[in-house]
């Protein structure tokens, strides 16, 4: 099964740029994930101000806003997609991350086969 690990850095945008030490430690961790055969893909994200948000109202209307958001602490800073045998294993690997003052949310990826046949049939293409 697959798990998405979302990193919530809980930092201000101005502190977004990582330090060489932090990057080096994270590089070693990513390498461990790779060597253990778990890592499928990963990315670090630019701060919210380099992106934006599209909000959908109940009537279908959309509004586009630039980042940054008001609740800057609840933005994703990066993610890993891993393959693990169980939720426990995924959480175990997440807790080995050399991180400070942040949170990693571990979520299991929904696989198509888990949906009802009706839903599967309705689905076309990725």
């Amino acid at each position: 099964m697959r798990f998405m690990m979302f990193m919530y850095p809980e930092i201000e945008e101005k502190d977004w740029e990582p330090t060489p030490e932090g990057v080096a430690a994270m590089g070693r961790y990513n390498e461990e994930l790779r060597k253990a055969g778990l890592l499928l893909t990963l990315d670090g994200l630019r701060p919210p101000s380099d992106g934006g948000t599209v909000r959908f109202a109940a009537d279908g209307g959309t509004t586009v806003s630039d980042g940054p958001f008001s609740e800057a602490k609840e933005v994703v800073g990066g993610y890993w997609l891993i393959q693990a045998r169980s939720k426990e294993e995924a959480l175990e690997w997440a807790s080995r991350c050399p991180a400070r003052g942040c949170a990693i949310e571990v979520r299991r990826v929904a696989e198509m086969e888990e949906f009802s046949q009706e839903v599967q049939d309705a689905y076309e293409g990725p």
Binding site: K35, G37, L40, M112, E113, Q117, P126
Partner: protein, 392 residues
């Protein structure tokens, strides 16, 4: 060979040999891989601090052994990491030792490297738990009695023994992919386990093109897992699959693994060639876009490298798609008397298909009927009977 100087053994010895000697009495740890990592790493770091000459020794080994596992990093941590890597690699090679039967190799690999329990292995391969337990006990006994050393084979011996390792991993994958027995036609967990072992091996032995070839093949085949089953669990053939359900991430990973193999200075082996064929299919967004000319050429190279009537059969299909049914039929005529295909239902099934395309309906119907009588799979038999009636 390094074993002669005792250096490789030296390095792999501590945690691992101790482990194999104590496991049979005190039981295998729940998660051997993690356990090994933890204990071996601490010991290795201690020892490295004592042995200042480690680096120099390592370089000698690298020089003597064609630098396959040459180390570039010099700090202790990195050296320790690599040493663990070698330990794990040695464990893989030991589990897949040619002295052991195929079943024993698979069971031992899943137990010691995959960390699966005897129960899990038994249910994965639909055999009794006691059978698996016996296989494991016997395998460990065989290894002990033959005094099989814990080491990564080097040079010519490595070339000899690597295929056995790749075979075990691919066997596990295929058991999951086609599930020869049991209700589920596909068992994803076994595929994932094999992929994981393959990815680990690729990081441990990055200079071996066939390791990347195997990983590439498994990644691309696994990308189709979600498209290979119809609503009633029936198999959906490659050309009939909904390609939108192929997993794009696994396809990208597969292609990248194949590129890694192609970048190495060695001719492509059987796994790389099969991966290249799989990649051809993956590239085609619609079945009609498939590059059958290239696929036929790849099958031809594969047939030269590892001749097999099954490969020829596949080549016949590719030839017929590339150049018309006659080209395929001509090749089938060459291999139809091969005893290996005497009971293989796909031979008459493919011939029936080609004859049907040529409008030779009666001949086609009799081939389909013959194929129906040969297959052991109920769903397939129904399909073949329907086709026979359809053209007859």
């Amino acid at each position: 060979m390094v074993g002669d100087v005792g250096l490789a053994e030296d390095m792999a010895q501590d945690a691992l040999v101790a482990a194999m000697e104590t496991w049979p009495t005190s039981g295998v740890p729940d998660n051997p891989g993690a356990w090994l990592m933890a204990t071996a790493k601490n010991r290795a770091i201690d020892r490295l601090r004592r042995e200042k000459t480690y680096e120099r020794k390592r370089e000698e080994v690298a020089r003597d052994t064609g630098a396959l596992f040459a180390m570039e990093r010099s700090d202790f941590e990195a050296a320790a990491d690599d040493e663990i890597g070698d330990d794990l690699l040695a464990l893989i090679f030991t589990c897949c030792h040619p002295l052991l039967s195929r079943e024993a190799r698979v069971a031992l690999t899943l137990r010691l490297l995959g960390g699966l329990t005897t129960t899990e292995i038994a249910s994965a391969f639909l055999v009794g738990e006691s059978t698996v337990a016996q296989r494991l006990v016997r395998a460990k006994k065989t290894l002990r009695e033959a005094k099989v050393p814990f080491e990564v084979p080097r040079g010519a011996e490595l070339d000899e023994r690597l295929p056995s390792v790749l075979e075990v991993i691919y066997l596990v994958f295929n058991e999951g992919y086609t599930a020869s027995a049991g209700e589920d036609w596909v068992r994803t967990d076994l595929c994932e386990e094999a992929l994981r072992l393959g990815r680990i091996l690729a990081e441990l032995a990055p200079r071996e093109p066939e390791v990347h070839g195997l990983v590439a093949l498994m990644e691309i085949q696994a990308s189709r897992l979600g498209a290979r089953r119809g609503p009633d669990g029936e198999p959906v053939l490659l050309l009939d699959q909904d390609r939108g359900r192929w997993d794009p991430l696994l396809i990208v990973r597969g292609r990248r693994a194949l590129e890694r193999a192609e970048e190495l200075p060695a001719p492509l082996g059987p796994y790389c060639l099969q991966a290249a064929i799989a990649a051809c299919h993956a590239r085609a967004i619609q079945p009609e876009e498939t590059d059958w000319v290239r696929i036929a050429a790849l099958y031809e190279t594969l047939a030269q490298l590892s001749p097999s009537p099954i490969v020829e059969l596949n080549r016949a299909v590719a030839l017929s798609m590339a150049f018309g049914p006659e080209a395929g039929l001509a090749l089938l005529e060459e291999i139809e008397d091969d005893p290996a295909l005497a009971k293989y239902h796909l031979l008459p099934s493919v011939r029936g298909d080609l004859l049907e395309k040529l409008g030779r309906r009666e001949e086609a119907a009799s081939e389909y009927k013959r194929a129906a009588g040969m297959t052991g799979n109920e769903r397939e038999r129904e399909l073949l009977k329907r086709r026979a009636e359809g053209v007859g």
